[in-house]
Symmetry: C2
Subunit: 388 residues, 2 copies
């Protein structure tokens, strides 16, 4: 196990953000773009450290090939942006949504980009804003591309975020017992993680914080995206599947485990063991240069060979960063290659209706010669069979 990078909790400094902007501009140049427009709050956060809630009043960041980027935002929010942004920004504010004729956001937007410019927009840009964009636009997810490989700073933030969910997951296994209610487990785990974050980052931005600690008991664990209700009760045996995820002041991470309360039903042994072998196969392939879909193909094959092809519901993993789900994808169809500094989840799953689901997930850093697992939870059947 390589030594993990040290955790970081401080906000990014100007140099960190200037480095990200420089990479965006390098790609703009490569694509022949005069301007780039960022609207996705995640991309604005990446470049500025300002997290906004999307509402009817648009925030639009206009980036020219050089000079200070412009933040077009509502008057009401400009001091909010200034409080959190850690980079140079010029501000153009509109009064309200809507405003009297001639003073609306789109009237100002039109003054920020020349009519002849070639403009890159995100695929996430709402069609109503794309339609108001001056110049000629092309969809190019440049900021998303820059976000693929993490900086040393981002890795430090993620190491810290993982320390939070690692504690959350320990608490989850400690408090989950047959008959226990979802809402009480959730409360205990979330309270612990929130307390740790607030203790360690006193100016944590609540808009960039989310906490989830939940368990899918065996009667629903075959259905990983069916959200349990608050009064869902834990059961005897298993497979129970835990999900502990958090956006820790901006950085999204996850750890998930398949576990058993009291005893392991006989029918659970083969799928659990198959999931573990698929997982080992995936990890054995994680290193710079590996083609993402090839990792998924070989990992799936382990499950297919065990006769469980019809119980596969999802890819082997996905990227993480300032969101909990982002590119790259460890999936058939993603032909990119892994690079040092990418963060991915490894989580092959098997879902058998009537029995339950089998999935462990971790947050994993791609290193120069392989990987480092940033999350830490028991993983063997023995360690995950909890005496009750």
């Amino acid at each position: 196990m390589p030594t993990l990078p040290a955790p970081i909790t401080a906000a990014p400094d100007k140099d960190e953000l200037a480095g990200r902007l420089a990479q965006v501009r390098a790609l703009m140049k490569e694509k022949g773009l005069d301007y780039y427009v960022a609207f996705d709050p995640v991309n604005i956060y990446y470049l500025t450290n300002f997290a906004n809630n999307v509402h009817e009043r648009p925030f639009i960041m206009v980036i020219a090939a050089s000079g200070t980027p412009v933040m077009l935002c509502p008057l009401l929010e400009s001091s909010h942006v200034k409080t959190r942004a850690r980079c140079d920004l010029a501000y153009v504010t509109y009064y309200e949504f809507p405003s009297p004729t001639g003073q609306n956001w789109f009237d100002l937007y039109k003054t920020l980009i020349p009519a002849k410019a070639k403009v890159g927009i995100e695929s996430a840009l709402p069609a109503g804003i794309a339609a108001q964009t001056p110049g000629t636009y092309v969809i190019e997810d440049i900021i998303d591309d820059v976000r693929l490989v993490k900086t040393a700073y981002e890795i430090g933030r993620t190491v810290h975020a993982c320390s939070v969910i690692n504690e959350g997951h320990r608490k989850l296994l400690e408090v989950t017992r047959p008959g226990g209610l979802e809402v009480l487990i959730y409360g205990e785990v979330v309270r612990l993680m929130m307390g740790k974050v607030l203790g360690e980052i006193q100016d944590a931005n609540l808009i960039a914080c989310k906490f989830v600690g939940a368990v899918w008991p065996p009667s629903i664990s075959h259905d990983p995206h069916l959200v349990p209700t608050p009064l869902t009760a834990m059961e005897q045996g298993g497979p129970h599947v835990s999900i502990v995820t958090s956006q820790v002041n901006g950085y999204g991470v996850e750890v998930e485990r398949t576990f058993f309360l009291g005893s392991v039903p006989d029918h659970a042994r083969k799928p659990f063991e198959t999931m573990m072998r698929a997982r080992e196969k995936a990890y054995s392939l994680v290193k710079p240069g590996a083609v993402l879909e090839e990792i998924d193909r070989q990992t799936r094959q382990v499950i297919i060979d065990a006769g469980y092809e019809k119980y596969i519901l999802h890819r082997t993993g996905h990227g993480l960063g300032i969101t909990g789900h982002e590119a790259p994808y460890v999936a058939l169809g993603d032909t990119r290659t892994l690079e040092e500094g990418m963060l991915i989840s490894i989580e092959p799953g098997i879902y058998i209706p009537g029995q339950g689901g089998y999935r462990h997930s971790d947050t994993v850093l791609v290193t120069a010669d392989g990987y480092a697992r940033l999350t830490d939870a028991p993983d063997s059947l023995e360690a995950l069979t909890i005496a009750v």
Copy 2:
């Protein structure tokens, strides 16, 4: 005060949702649209009762002029949709994001709409999905238009949602004392509201629930969108401004008050009294047929006449429904008229740097002959000066 409609907590039935769809189709016909595409999770929730978190795997609802609407969604989520949807839906699922060539969401999307169709899309539809939309598209926010006037069912749900935040606000005034920390107030208020919702709606959908109970103390209350940090401390005097909002199993509501701890500084009396007169002016104009921007104009004028024009930061109010912020807007530039069954906030504000902010907000139903306030909190300076 008119009698309020009875609170409703049950999920919508098929007839309620069929009625909404019929209204959407009537507008499609009026606009000459063969198909309408819903992507905004709020609009999908409105038509189906299914709340999704937007992530990289798209959920797209395709509505033809007649027949069963189609939900294009990831395989992983189809049982989740089926669990919550309360209307007829046909399902088309894709395996993953991404998928191998020919099996991606956009490959299936192209089979759902003929190439010659005229298609309506939302202004919120991401440009990357608009670009994959078959046929010829026009931006028409039809579902948003239908949502403007609430059904009797929606009003009942909103009455229930307001009963939750009314209790939350009572608790907030009870626990806010000088020196108290934001995070503790937030914890008390949110816990109470969450407990009430879970007690009253046992299958509440956590994806459609949000709870906020916060106070802006006088040193920051002049800046209504600057989010307090967890360790922000309450102060002596005021103006403190409370915000209690919730998405109660899908329905968004708010109640906000300007209040004082111990004593009222002399400089606060005139702005408080001006805000109250502006608010009375606004309420005096709320009735079916009133032009929205005219309410804002006359309400602003009260503040302007008092010499506070430069301290106006926002419009008089906004619509509420299945979101906490939506059309119509009580704002200069919104030339629509109020109709019976609309839900709006009334919240003119005055924000004086160095002193603080002055704003009360309520969730208000437009009735046949005026309005009914669905939120309930003290509003006079006397009642809002709390002995400490």
